[in-house]
């Protein structure tokens, strides 16, 4: 553990976790929103068909 200074360990570990984590969270949010969009589109599509 003492082979590298703390700052050396931090720069190796923290940025990848933060960057991959933030994109993964955004990905999950996008998937959720797209599901809602699909529902919205279906509703509009059905309404148009009814007319």
């Amino acid at each position: 553990m003492d082979a590298f200074p703390i700052a050396g360990w931090l720069i190796l570990i923290v940025p990848p976790i933060l960057m991959i984590g933030s994109v993964a969270i955004w990905y999950a949010r996008e998937v959720k929103m797209e599901k809602l969009e699909n529902e919205l589109f279906r509703k509009k599509y059905d309404d148009r068909e009814m007319e």
Binding site: E30, V31, E37, L40
Partner: protein, 539 residues
Amino acid sequence: MGGIGILSIVILYMILLLVLGIWSARISTQGSSEYFLGGRKLGPWVLSMSEKASESSGFMTVGLPGEAYSSGMSAAWNAVSSVFSIFNWLFFAKRIRRLSEIQNSITVPDFLSARFKDDTHIMRWVSIVVMTIFMTVYVCAQFVAFGVLFEVVLGVNFATGVIVGGIVTIIYTILGGFFAVSLTDFIQGLLMAFAFLVLPILAITEIGGFNEMGYQLTDMMGQEFLAPFFGNSALTLAGLIAIISYLFIGIGFNGSPHVLVRYMALRHTRDVKRIALIGIIWMMVAYYGAVLIGLSGLALFPDLADPEHIFPTMTVELFPWWIAGIIVAAALSAMMSSIDSMLLIASSTIAEDLWNKILKKGELREDKTILISRIATALLGLIAIIIALNPLDTVFWLAVFAWAGLATCFGPPIILSLFWKGVTKTGAIAGMIVGPLVTVIWYFWPPVDIYEGGPAFIAAMLTIVLVSLFTKPPEGDDFERLWDTYSEKNELGRFSFLPSDEAVIRNLKASNLGDRTEKEIIMELLDSEHKSASAFRTN
């Protein structure tokens, strides 16, 4: 066997690329959109790998490992600069794709001209000049890296490496257009990930483990070499300036036309999230892999005359010839994937923006546009080869200089035009000139020793904002309609559907959306590679 074996694999790899170029030619000759944007048919895996591979270049295989070899853990700040790529995916990619579909734009200058209704073509002229100059420098840096690799690994003369590698890349770009470039980038991106993962693991194992590497480097260089503060064990003002400098290199992601054009080539905006996830994982593997190659390389080969030789030296010394051949092919990939993208973007600008839109008033036949683009590719490539035979600087600094010139010309006007309706044509043009100008001045006569891309980007942004505030804002029914369509939101507060988005969802509807689970719906959506026909067509 070693040298001949590696050479055979490299030759086979180059033949594979040429075959791909010829195969792609049948798609690329269908029209300008097919040649310049691959017909907007490429899926997220191909586009993501293509984006990353074309960004990476010889910077990743020759430049960054060399930088880690000489400056230690501080080189890891390059990996941190990936955060600018995240900004692209989260904030800019969907908007660029959306606006390019609404405006029918197929090149970056085309995009800017349509957004600012630039009938005077000043914007196109600035784009053409900046792209031609800086892309030639960038391609030049890649050819230099080519020569280094051929020289160190294959024992082939530097000039021969530059010429052979250059000609193969030019030929497959000419034949296959964006489709070939993206397909080859996909293979190249995978090969690079393999190299950046395997090479440091093998090297660290050879040293005796990660900790052992740390102890050896501390003995050789002192513990400050392993702290990310540029030769100090704690953060100093000079260290802070150097860190900012390294982070500024990431700004290039937000403005490089060969990166931005990939968002224009998306099938639809929903592909962005997948591209982001694949992209960020690739970046972390590649950037940290490159840094660890430099560090472990120093422990294993401490007496190299040129730090930029570390990647090829380790490849030849640590691997059996057949794996070394694959890794050399991966390193060549890093360079070729940038060269082909740069050449295609520069030549498409000359053919579409200069020849078709300015000289022929948009009347040029598509086959003629493609022919001119091919001739321009050949000419630009040959000029870059000739300059590369007598390089001005190291691969690392040549690449980041050109990276800055391009990014500061296109990044600021594109980013601001996506969010601010009030950006004026005069403001955008002023920013496009100020950015590259500050880049060049800062590179040759730096007032502070900081990477030129950062101050130039900020100067360009400020120029656009200030000039826009004091010049006539865009007006007219056409512009209002464009902006209303672009910024229209649905009930969920997200952008309204474009024809390309509707096509995707209609496919879901057709396949009985209501009876499916959420997972099935999403998986179908993501995997509907060839069902999502875009309504977009160029005129």
